[in-house]
Subunit: 112 residues, 2 copies
DNA sequence: CATATATATCTACAATGTAGAAAGGACAGC
DNA sequence: GCTGTCCTTTCTACATTGTAGATATATATG
């Protein structure tokens, strides 16, 4: 059952990691923020994004490199192997959690 | 795009809510704990579970009632409409987040 | 009654989530 | 080359959620 190694990702950590994947190649702070806002529909302070990016880099789930050349320098992020692993485990665990739950019924119960 | 009303559920909050659903009718602290341990493969302090149950009840996503009759009295939890709504929104948002991500590729990247 | 068992509560602290303000540097126009 | 502006990042602080462990309380059992 995959023994659930490391502590689980938080939901915002997961969002950031996936956003890095989605914006791959162009994954810097502002862009990651835009992407998360787009997907979740919520407004986000830029500080929130960087705080989490920093923590994920400290845990070695992400790496970052500096951009030079034209325009303001950017800090580009990329998923490390450990980051991919963490994401995959998170997804697998959640699948087990929800397996057998009738989401339709849930939505019906939620409605009016 | 469903405007993302209330603050998103935390991952443990979600686990607790779904566990209540899974153990429906018999959803009291110890049982909920067992269910989460079963699904996630991690050990859990009972205090962790109750702290979260209390917070979810305070937010009115859960309700609880006391059991009497035979055996020690239990505090039985049930999902409120708002709880079902929160769960459904959480699931929907995550679906948008992951849409288009190739999970196979992710797992491959994670492997070895 | 005395001890064990099942359940719940309390207290405290660590980790994550989030905001807002400040800082730095490239570029435009003067 | 100064001034202001835009884009990006950094810093600081605090709120919320995650988690453990010890303690309380009631019921059952010998």
């Amino acid at each position: 059952m995959s023994p659930a190694s490391s502590p689980p990702l938080g939901v915002f950590e997961e969002q950031v990691l996936v956003a890095v994947l989605r914006t791959a190649g162009d994954a810097y702070g502002m862009e990651i923020r835009r992407e998360i806002e787009r997907v979740t529909g919520r407004d986000l302070a830029i500080g929130a994004v960087y705080a989490t990016l920093d923590r994920l880099e400290a845990k070695r789930l992400l790496s970052s490199t500096r951009t030079h050349g034209d325009g303001p320098s950017r800090r580009l992020f990329a998923l490390r192997r450990a980051g991919a692993k963490a994401l995959a485990e998170t997804a697998a665990m959640r699948e087990r959690l929800w397996k057998g739950i009738d989401v339709r019924a849930l939505v019906r119960l939620a409605g009016a």
